[in-house]
Symmetry: C2
Amino acid sequence: MADNSGTNKEKIKEKVEKGYKSAGKQSIAFKNPPYIIAEASLVGKKEGEGPLGSLFDQVLEDPMIGKDNWEEAESELMKLTAQRVLMKAGLKNASIRYLIGGDLLGQLIATSFGIAELQIPLFGVYGACSTMGEAMSIGAILVDGGYAKRVLSITSSHFAGAEKQFRFPLDYGNQRPYSASWTVTGSGAVIIADHSTKKEAGEKDIVITGITTGKIVDYGIKDSMNMGAAMAPAAFETIKQNFEDFEIKPDYYDMIITGDLGYVGKNILIELLKEKGYDIEERYMDCGIEIFDQDTQDTHAGGSGCGCSAVTFTAYVIKQLKEGTWKRVLFVPTGALLSQTSFNEGNTVPGIAHAVMVEAR
Amino acid sequence: MADNSGTNKEKIKEKVEKGYKSAGKQSIAFKNPPYIIAEASLVGKKEGEGPLGSLFDQVLEDPMIGKDNWEEAESELMKLTAQRVLMKAGLKNASIRYLIGGDLLGQLIATSFGIAELQIPLFGVYGACSTMGEAMSIGAILVDGGYAKRVLSITSSHFAGAEKQFRFPLDYGNQRPYSASWTVTGSGAVIIADHSTKKEAGEKDIVITGITTGKIVDYGIKDSMNMGAAMAPAAFETIKQNFEDFEIKPDYYDMIITGDLGYVGKNILIELLKEKGYDIEERYMDCGIEIFDQDTQDTHAGGSGCGCSAVTFTAYVIKQLKEGTWKRVLFVPTGALLSQTSFNEGNTVPGIAHAVMVEAR
């Protein structure tokens, strides 16, 4: 575990005690760090066969999830995940003040059709594959600020829906370059609350202590089959800003976790940070790399999609925090802000990354 | 102007003074009502020829706004609007802590490409044509809660981009039914701040006193050419909830302003509220109806799009508040949560509406 550098810890505590919510240039330190009181992750068959397979709440063998098309399948997946996280928390829909949700499909239809029947006031959000970071950030603000006792943050993605939306129809049998990522079929959700639900003394609370909200970063990458390279600079800017805003170094965290940079983006990120004097290599992982086995699953650069970081965080990262393997992590979902139209029109692929500071207490 | 029913006013004041931020089931009463310190509206030629034409900050004659395609034109429109609102406020980008923005295009590309160069931390939001309500709601929360001194909330839409996205290519020359609306080419922006910028004693401050966040409402309408009918039930639910949460009646407001229900949706909304004992007819307007002249502009049911309510609010509604014509309004942008895919797959058109309470003080 990280050596909690006394100076930094005191500085942040001091800031928070002063009610100094706006830390540095792009961050917030929460005065009343909100609790993650429940989490859920549902995935498709391929994700279930991957290295994290046994950790997910449910693996859905049928890619259509009993529906007639990919979009409705994704909506159903999100609905089942929202229901699961409510069940795990022992809560009814009416106990949730806001639902913050998003997905990759145009006009967020997986979300609109997926969560409609829950009848929870909705803020629809979009940050491509960084959406879980945005949804958790806004959720934590609502709870810390006293605007809500409980918020549900959720995102989803579906391999086949994303291929149809962004690339080629599956039936076309297009070849995938090695830099391409594989969109995760999955949905992850957390309930963020203003109170602990700890039942026993030994149990850990999982709290959100701060956030760093990303700007759009565009290094001019135009290859939609190489999104890792497009997103790495955004992850770099947000992580660097987090270090600067809180006056900390990489060793403040036990793990720094990006969303879906994959093998290509990972190396770029490590190099970019190294140039600025930050060495994260020993304490760095990428959800897109963890979720599939590159050697046996033919997923090339790794997993991606709003669901990738959401299910890896809810199934794997929170487990490490609860078990005490890690005490403090920086969760940084990364998004590539392209559309089929912007790609076809020859535009670049701008990136964005939203960081969430999560601690076991 | 409305008779400010003493009882209601006191009740709300009492709630706010207690720090009771969560009003009723779906609303927030702001303890430190944020100020709208600047607003800007840029529109296309047709909107400039409409009844509100002289009120907009700028009318852009060229529908391509000097760009090569409709999407880039909309991005440019949003960029120019963001720059305009900053200029009007006398602020630089760096003074803005968050930009909350969205548009109608798949994956919000008008926003991503439009505001990238401003380099402001971004929360991308989507609520179809209700997006301005969502962007202002989140903006007001960030400021009221002390998370930001200044936030920029912005949305846009473009007629040709929206036709391409949701309906038929313009070149196809498709006939439009009378229930169809005309997507507004326009972008509206506000800067929400924690301080007044009032220069003279007589000047009015414009403040956001509360919000009511909408749920998804689906009455089973399937006609994407009749979005007013699809959105009216959502507007009804949100407005009714606002009355209930704050224990007020329609006469609490001088004007209740929906986004883009148009002529069809307007009548449905009035009837639905009447059935519940709320008569809003005397104090009701719809931005989609105000922005075009139905007789001469061939716009059928009225204007629509994220830009419709945004430019009508920033150019017309704020003016009425500043001049003292109205003291208190409920601004309720309305959204139809469909996509081309969901429509083609035979899905319904769910609606959502987000209400923002705005006052001149």
